[in-house]
Amino acid sequence: MDAAWPRSTRYVIMSSANWLMFLAAVAFLTWGTAGETLPDGAVVAILIVVGLSVALQFAAAYRLVATQDEFVRGITAKRVIAAAGLTITVAVLWGLAQQFLDVPDVPMWVIYPFFWGAFGMVTPFVRDTHA
C-alpha cells in the first residue's frame, strides 16, 4: 500500500509538477498580451500543455487512490462526488446567469481549480464511508 493521501512522495511530486505546468501556461496566456500576439500554432502548443497538465493530474490522483485501502478509496470517492456536484452546480448556474443576466464572464478553465478547491472544502465534512 502506498503512503496515505496526501503523503505519497510520488503523488506530491507529480501533483506539484502538474500544477506548476498548469499555472505557468495559464499565466503566460492570460497575463499580458501573449495570448493575443502569439501565432496560433504556439497557442495550440500551450493549450496542449494545459490539457496535459490537467489530464496528468487526474491520472496521478487516480493512481494514488488505486493504491490506497478500502477506507481511503471510499471516502475519496465520496469527496470527489461532492466536489464534482458542487462544481457542476456552480458552473451550470453561472453559465445560465452569463447567458441571461448581467454577470461577469468567467473563462471555463476556472472550473479546474474550482473543482480542486471544492474538493478541499468538502473534505472536512465528509468523514465516513457510510451512505
Binding site: 500500500m1 477506507f71 471516502i75
Partner: protein
C-alpha cells in the same frame, strides 16, 4: 458497525499504527473502524480477525444475528 477493535488492540498494547502495519491498511482506516466511520469489507474483517487470532464475530459482532432460535 460496532466492533471490539479498540478494546482488543488495547489488550495487546498495540498502537493503531502497529495494527495498520500488520494488516496492510492506513492508520486512518483503523481509526475509522474504531470510531464506526467505516464498515469493513468481508476481506478486511477476516484480515483483522486473523491478526488477533480470533473468529470474525469476536471482533465484529454480527449486527443481524437473531437472538431467538
Amino acid at each position: 458497525m460496532k466492533s471490539r477493535l479498540r478494546v482488543l488492540r488495547a489488550e495487546r498494547g498495540w498502537t493503531q499504527e502497529q495494527l495498520s502495519g500488520t494488516i496492510g491498511v492506513s492508520r486512518q482506516a483503523i481509526n475509522a473502524l474504531e470510531t464506526e466511520r467505516h464498515d469493513p469489507s468481508l476481506d478486511l474483517a477476516y484480515r483483522i480477525a486473523a491478526a488477533f487470532e480470533l473468529p470474525v464475530e469476536q471482533v465484529f459482532p454480527n449486527p443481524h444475528e437473531r437472538s431467538d432460535p
